[in-house]
């Protein structure tokens, strides 16, 4: 039994099946991008152990195809097992070993990146200073204690917790938050707007004048979900303070008081705070003379890090990112008025893996094909002679 299992795990057939499955998956995932957009297709097809049908909903779901993580993992096991079992040292095989060692590094690195890399945005208008970046794909509910004049104490509740619903407690909060409603994507309307039949889901703050319509998830490349929720705030020792509507579509924070403290409540893109700050001095957008074709985008920023005694100007432009303290800042976009720059901020602890893998595999391919080519031309010469 065990021997049979090992035979399967180490078999070349399994390799081919995995590669073929990967092709099918990638093809399907690429075509799906037309309707789902890159990000959503990536989630459904590549970043999971299975592709599910139907993709949405909590009801009955069937796995219809192995997802990217499963195929990658099986391929990784297959590769490692096959080489562990059949490894023998010979020059003839050296290239093959190198190639596969490189592939193992690449697959493992890819998996690691998928699990641990964090991508976020920093959006700066000229003159702005930020010490955090934001993830526009994930929201958080920030509950801010503003009673201390020296600093604000922020408790951030991730979107996933809100989606799960129920009661949320945290030691920094003297009350519980109970999620009454949650909308992954929504549109807000005023109650008195004509044709609105829905009832408000909140009874406190501006949310009491607003109704929430649930809409299907955004699929376009540039569209994103407007997350909304209704939360009831219940202090530990007194009665409920009421229900608030929190939404990505509501701009300003809402204020409420509990006992002697004042709190703010806001739904906003999840933030990653940094121990340093970035100030945008100037954004430039050059075009080729007489055309609208962009020639270069560049952001001149000032980096200030009190801990490390850093205070310097940096130019971030196309193909020339800023790398600082494990994070990399790329010129990612701009707003129409050419005064606001969007920097992509990436923390990827395994970014070096593909570089190593590439060198190892390329060396392996060269050794292997070189070895065969020499052999081929020798034989050929022998035939001609």
């Amino acid at each position: 039994m065990l021997r049979k299992l090992i035979a399967i795990i180490t078999s070349l057939k399994l390799t081919i099946i995995c590669l073929a499955a990967a092709m099918v998956l990638i093809f399907a995932g690429t075509i799906a991008q037309v309707h789902l957009g890159i990000w959503e297709a990536q989630q459904r097809y590549f970043q999971g152990f299975f592709v599910w049908w139907p993709a949405e909903g909590r009801g009955f779901r069937v796995p219809v195809f192995p997802g990217g993580h499963l195929i990658g993992a099986v391929l990784l096991v297959n590769l490692v097992a096959a080489h562990a079992k059949r490894f023998q040292w010979a020059w003839r095989k050296f290239g093959i070993h190198l190639i596969h060692a490189g592939l193992i590094i690449m697959l493992a690195g890819g998996l690691f990146t998928d699990l641990f890399a964090i991508e976020s945005h920093m959006r700066l208008t000229q003159g702005d200073t930020r010490n955090y970046s934001e993830d526009p794909r994930r929201m958080e509910l920030a509950v801010i204690d503003t009673s201390n004049p020296e600093f604000d104490q922020v408790t951030a509740i991730p979107e996933a917790l809100l989606r799960r619903g129920g009661s949320i407690e945290h030691k920094s909060l003297p009350f519980r938050l109970v999620v009454r409603h949650f909308y992954q994507n929504s549109r807000l309307h005023m109650v008195n707007e004509s044709g609105v039949t829905l009832q408000p889901i909140a009874n406190q703050g501006p949310g009491a004048q607003v109704v929430v319509e649930s809409v299907p998830r955004a699929t376009g490349v540039n569209d994103r979900d407007l997350v909304s929720a209704a939360v009831e705030i219940i202090p530990a020792k007194s009665a409920s303070l009421g229900t608030w509507l929190v939404s990505d579509a509501l701009g300003a924070p809402q204020t409420f008081s509990n006992g002697d403290r004042t709190w703010q409540l806001v739904m906003r893109p999840a933030r990653y705070y940094k121990p340093y700050s970035v100030t945008l001095q100037k954004f430039t957008h050059e075009r080729y003379v007489g055309t609208e074709i962009p020639k270069n985008f560049a952001s001149k920023v000032t980096l200030i890090d009190p801990e490390k005694n850093v205070n310097r100007n940096v130019l971030v432009y196309m193909n020339h990112p800023l790398r600082y303290r494990g994070e990399t800042y790329y010129q990612a976009g701009f707003e129409k008025d050419d005064r606001t720059s969007i920097l992509q901020v990436v923390r990827n602890p395994s970014f070096i893996a593909p570089y190593i893998a590439c060198i190892v595999v390329a060396a392996g391919l060269l050794v292997q094909f070189g070895y065969h080519l020499v052999g081929f031309s020798r034989r050929r010469r022998a035939v001609i002679a």
């Binding site: 390799t15 590549f46 003379v289 055309t291 990112p321 570089y355 390329a362 094909f369």
Partner: protein, 633 residues
């Protein structure tokens, strides 16, 4: 004869190519459009000769680089351009605008007939309608537009381009433009004096100011229209249009010599005075030769490049070589084979000249857009195929080289319709290191995949439909295909990973599941499957061939298919028109695979020569028996 035949073929072909290098003849009583065609202007961010502007504009507006007039006369792009620039009333009558969409014709109350070219005069009553409809279509993404919307938008853009050209070097209503400029120049100093008097609060002559103000307004309107930036000012790419230069003259009081020369030669052309036109053109050309030596050298070379038209020549030579190579399998083997090889070398030389010229003109690595990728894929595949031909000397490499060279150049030809193929690069592509490594490696991988597919096609077609696939040919085809797949694996893999590294350098993610990235990795995976299936003994000769043909499908999807999805960072070359062709190609490949899947007894080449009893499948090659147990399947 046998010995001289290949040389004879080569000499004829070389003479034909050489003929296009001769400078075009200009008779004394004609307008010198050759010298005028070399004059540099700045359009689309690049300094190029007027000849290129003429060809690209006519290609965008008319779909072709020549124009047939109603009287049957055919005129070149340069002739059309000078008429548009200096004799717009005449050019308005030329049937240049293409309208084939019946709904667009219906918009004007016209029925679809065999006419598809219309003149500006015919369209002028509908300009407002066209502009409105075009505006609506412009708001949509290109993927969302209907056929009508694309057609009306194209028509609107063509009309705008034409109008802008007309107002590039002079206002289209100007008759004696040099005279107008003299009046303008003479009016400036008194006006300047009046202006300074006004500033000081003294009495001033308002009429003097107003006379210049009228000119300024006229040139401001003109400058908003101008398409050509014809006047170099200062260092580098600081060029201005004629109108902008005239507006500057208000301050300097002097009219730029280039503006004067254009005005004089334009007037001369307008009234049909070829002597003055030629004199002024020479003056203009001399001025550029002195003041803009580098730009002029480049534009003269580009003129030669346009004139020589290397890709059309090598296209013809590739077809010829393909036919000759195929002929060599039918008979007169050695001389035809040799002739095909020589033709290919000549064709490759011309192809290489074209590729290198483009690199020189653009100062870029060879592949910068879809058009140049087609040129490069053909070039790479031809070289690898010629190496195979040198090793095996059986005409197969030559046939592949001819076929792939021809097909890729035809594809390139059809990709050129959107105008300048030497366009400037988007900011993120503005890096020669990655263009030279990642893009070149990927496209070389494409070349190799198509070559492997071509070899497989030859194997199947010769094997199934003819008796010419002998055992040794089959074996060498198999070896070639295997070798080329290995080569493709190497380049596709390295290219894909280099692309990942570029992405990591510029966007911070090594892999983003962008469609073009996925296309590239599909090729790598398919190569890996082919190689592992062969090493594992799951496939033999025929399986290898069928899989190589699937490789064609995968590669064509990766090269073109993903661009048609209209998503992602690489969707720079959206090609809706190419979609039916892509589908057709894929269907043809599937059909070929179905043919290959027929039982081997049905293959002409593998039919048993002796009528072996059925049931005992003794498969043999038509000409040579195989030892038992080595069936080619």
């Amino acid at each position: 004869m046998k010995r001289f035949f290949p040389w004879l073929v080569l000499i004829f072909a070389a003479a034909w190519v050489a003929a296009s290098w001769l400078p075009p003849k200009i008779t004394d009583d004609a307008f010198d459009l050759v010298t005028f065609g070399k004059v540099p202007v700045l359009v689309g961010g690049r300094v190029k000769p007027l000849d290129t502007v003429a060809r690209n504009s006519l290609l965008i507006i008319h779909g072709k680089e020549t124009l047939r007039l109603p009287n049957g006369e055919e005129i070149g792009a340069m002739q059309w351009l000078v008429d548009v620039l200096f004799k717009s009333a005449l050019a308005d009558e030329y049937p240049v605008f293409v309208i084939q969409n019946s709904e667009v014709l219906g918009l004007f109350g016209w029925e679809q007939s065999d006419r598809k070219y219309f003149s500006f005069t015919e369209l002028s009553p509908f300009l407002k309608q066209i502009d409105e409809q075009g505006d609506q279509a412009d708001k949509l993404e290109s993927v969302q537009r209907s056929a009508y919307q694309s057609a009306i938008l194209n028509l609107r853009n063509a009309l705008i381009l034409c109008q802008r050209l007309k107002n590039s070097l002079r206002p289209e209503d100007a008759h004696d433009f040099s005279n107008e400029l003299e009046t303008y120049a003479a009016a400036i100093p008194p006006a300047a004096q009046a202006a300074s008097q006004r500033e000081k609060g003294e009495a001033f002559d308002k009429a003097k100011l107003d006379s210049v103000a009228a000119f300024v307004e006229r040139y401001q309107n003109l400058s908003s229209m101008a398409y050509l930036l014809a006047v170099p000012s200062g260092e580098g790419l600081q060029w201005q249009s004629i109108a902008e230069s005239l507006l500057l003259a208000v301050r300097t009081g002097e009219i730029h010599p280039v503006v004067k020369a254009y005005a004089q030669l334009g007037d001369a052309y307008h009234v049909g005075d070829q002597r003055t036109f030629n004199q002024q053109t020479t003056r203009l050309s001399d001025w550029f030769g002195k003041e803009q030596a580098v730009a002029t050298k480049r534009t003269s070379f580009e003129f030669l490049f346009n004139h020589v038209d290397p890709f059309t020549h090598s296209m013809v030579l590739y077809v010829l070589a393909f036919l000759v190579a195929c002929g060599s399998w039918l008979g007169w083997n050695r001389p035809l084979n040799r002739a095909a090889f020589y033709l290919l070398l000549l064709s490759l030389a011309v192809h290489t000249f074209g590729l290198a010229s483009r690199m020189y003109l653009q100062e870029r690595p060879p592949v910068t857009n879809l058009y140049s990728s087609a040129i490069f894929i053909g070039w790479g595949a031809v070289i690898v195929a010629l190496i195979l031909e040198r090793i095996f000397r059986d005409g197969i490499g030559a046939a592949c080289a001819g076929a792939i060279g021809f097909i890729t150049l035809i594809i390139a030809h059809h990709l050129a319709g959107s105008g300048d193929t030497l366009e400037m690069l988007q900011a993120v592509l503005d890096t020669n290191i990655w263009l030279a490594t990642h893009v070149v490696a990927i496209t070389t991988g494409y070349s190799a995949m198509f070559l492997a597919g071509m070899l497989a096609m030859i194997y199947i077609i010769r094997g199934v439909f003819t008796r010419s696939l002998k055992k040794e040919t089959a074996d060498s085809l198999s070896r070639m295909t295997y070798g080329v797949v290995c080569f493709a694996t190497l380049f596709s893999f390295v290219g894909t990973v280099l692309g990942g590294i570029w992405a990591d350098q510029s966007w911070g993610r090594f892999w983003g599941w962008d469609p073009k990235e996925n296309g590239a990795v599909l090729i790598v995976l398919w190569c890996a499957i082919i190689l592992h299936a062969r090493w594992g003994g799951f496939i033999r000769q025929r399986g290898l061939m069928v899989m190589a043909i699937v490789g064609n499908v995968v590669t064509s999807f990766s090269w073109f298919g993903v661009n048609m999805l209209g998503v992602g960072l690489h969707s720079y070359g959206f090609m809706q028109k190419a979609f039916p062709w892509l589908v057709g190609f894929i269907v043809s490949q599937l059909a070929l695979m179905a043919v290959a899947a027929m039982p081997l007894e049905r293959w002409q080449s593998f039919r048993t020569t002796t009528h072996a009893p059925r049931g005992k499948d003794k498969l043999k090659f038509a000409s040579q028996g195989l030892p038992v147990g080595t069936t080619p399947d």
